[in-house]
Symmetry: C4
Subunit: 239 residues, 4 copies
């Protein structure tokens, strides 16, 4: 593999820079919402119009996450040589992110954290029931659990894709591991990571004090439909 940077078209080069900026900045949201400690957690974003994505380097402090430290990868998870950050190793979860991008073409962003309450549900292998309207809005039903899988082959990526394909939820709780979220872009996936911890925490506390009242399925359907179409400003719904 050559060590020279590929010659990107000006449009793609501009897209790469935008995604670098977004991915670097969005890691700050993981810190702001207390979803990560130390160097854990990672955000990636697909480069529109190219078979590329940008991801966090492995084991680097959240204080050092500048755009030029983000790492550009192809959809097999290989670092693109000669590009900024390419002297570092990408996140150890890069293979899982790459698998999602290869198999879910509509996904533009992937996030992984070990946020406390989402991991707590994952350690029991228990899906989060949809008992609050904010969860119906955002996820359209329960948050599903994915299979136990460890780093080393495609099994994490495959588990994410199999669980979320055709599912309303943009979040999966990988058993004994933690949440992975997907979205239209990196920001949308980060929002899902924030919201999955929020609902994991709320439903945890709700249930420890007594039985929960279910939401009728038709109300869940109605809330989900409205939120996807109406909420927010114009075309930027859900973000």
């Amino acid at each position: 593999m050559s060590n020279e940077a590929p010659a990107f078209s000006p449009e793609i080069a501009a897209s790469i820079q935008t995604v670098r900026d977004d991915v670097a900045r969005l890691h700050g949201e993981l810190v702001r919402y207390g979803l990560v400690v130390w160097t854990g957690g990672n955000v990636s974003g697909r480069v529109p119009g190219a078979d590329l994505f940008v991801i966090k380097p492995s084991g680097v402090s959240y204080d050092d996450l500048a755009p030029e430290n983000m790492i550009l990868c192809d959809l097999d998870g290989a670092v693109i040589p000669g590009t900024p950050g390419s002297d570092r190793s990408p996140s150890s979860d890069t293979a899982a992110h790459a698998y999602v991008y290869r198999h879910m073409p509509d996904v533009g962003g992937v996030v992984h954290t070990h946020s406390t309450f989402a991991v707590a549900w994952a350690a029991r292998g228990e899906e989060i029931p949809c008992v609050i309207t904010a969860m119906a809005d955002e996820f359209g039903g329960p948050i599903p659990v994915g299979p136990f899988a460890i780093i080393g082959d495609d099994s994490i990526g495959r588990g994410i894709v199999q669980t979320l394909s055709g599912h309303r939820s943009r979040a999966v709780l990988m058993q004994n591991h933690g949440p992975f979220t997907i979205g239209a872009d990196a920001k949308d996936a980060v929002k899902a990571a924030v919201m999955v911890e929020d609902v994991a925490r709320t439903v945890h506390h709700a249930r420890e004090a007594g039985p929960l009242i279910p939401i009728p399925q038709e109300a869940i359907d109605s809330l989900f439909a409205r939120y996807q179409n109406v909420y927010g400003q114009n075309s930027d719904a859900r973000r």
Copy 2:
């Protein structure tokens, strides 16, 4: 509907600006106390002397909530055209706020959040018992639960008004949804939102470890009466 801004009297124009400033700034209190994530939650304030209120735009980051982004509405929840912010959609909860302002003339502020412990009680449809003196001070008794209602008609607003009319509490837990609070003005409603989460969290933890000691009704009455009349500086009691 015309696109021109209405001609407000200088007094009303000044009031609108004051409420814009207050509502924009008070959203920061929701963040400070951890009551909201991402773009969730909303504060509104009635414009004194006019059939108008100011509310947050829908789906906009808490980092972007300047006074000129707040949206001026009439008491049917319709955006006043030609005014600052009128090119954006108001909060998706605007109809509920408007319903409260139409039916409760003494209410000058409304707040809605999905704060964790208040939502946890709401997901069980359980009122919060008044077992701590701070709650007697602030709410004069238990925090009631309102009916299950979803966005799309007047049912949320109606549920808030029916539950809180004639009730001491300025907070209602809408079932499976979350708290709405009212107040003499926006700041007073924000205080109620902060306090309802505080008591929801404290009573949750108190009860998970054993039986609670009730407060005698006459002590609750006495604390509530004192707090409404004496606490704070001069006429600004309770704020």
Copy 3:
């Protein structure tokens, strides 16, 4: 009562200013450790060499607590007219602080909060057992519960004094109300307020997961004796 400021000796005037500075600044520690919301909670400090103490005004935001806003009171809790801040009402808990200063001459600081876990134990009327060494260090045994008492007469102050007189603990959980702490000065009482919430939270979580291991009484005695005498720098032990 005259409206003119009394003529303090230069030494007392300097002491008053020092206590004003300390009390104003120490309120920031209540915020830093999440012990208070909105305008709740209060710190006071005795003026050395005078029958005076300095306390927070009632219902004023933590952002506005400058030294000149603190209020100087005599040991009956009456505001000293003509002094800075004397145009405002002192904390609604002033009578309780005054009672403590009148009856416990060694106490130089008093703090009251509604911190979450301390209030949770208070709502059950349950003392916190001494099962962690940090608690043996700081409090020398369990944190006791004081009687139910409401604002309006001396009953809160009397309950604090009766519970803490001759007790190792500098903290009391007033039933259904919350913690009051005392100390050699305001800073020492604030430290006790920080530590009582810390141990209230830790022992709460410890016990919800299974039986606690007691610490032998002789170990508690030994830890308490050492901490009072050795810990910290020189004579400033425990602060």
Copy 4:
């Protein structure tokens, strides 16, 4: 003992300064992650190439932890006279740190905190089971409990060394007391302190809601092996 500073070689003097800087700065991480309150908790770092370590002074505020306030000790825990900070007393846990450095030559950093959930497990004398992959990565299995021991002789240090010698875990929960962590250097030990609280909190919440799914031992072994060798950038794995 002379009061004159020893004459260190330039290399050792430079190492001492580096460790002073690191130890002072790393205390900030304990604050950032909410592991300590008031003046509690302490970090120390061994000086490479010398029988010396640097530790926090006793009872000093986290706001005052500059490099020149850190205290240089020999491996018996005696302060080196004439060096910066030597006019103050070192942390009351200095003897335990010194014992670890004397008996575990590969340890370059030691941290002690009273972080909430780690102490909660310690108050029950219960080890934390390895049910989440982040814990397998970082600790290679359960977090063990050490014996009850109080300050005053070598029993805390001996308990740490006996529990951790030959154990994969870099963290021990000293019964009724709290976590001590070790590492290749001070930063590595601080990371272990951050992670032990993170897993203590997550597994606490996971278990309070139902049975946990164990991770197969061979998966734990595989995750631990990978993390020690691959994670992070180059040789700086795990930091």
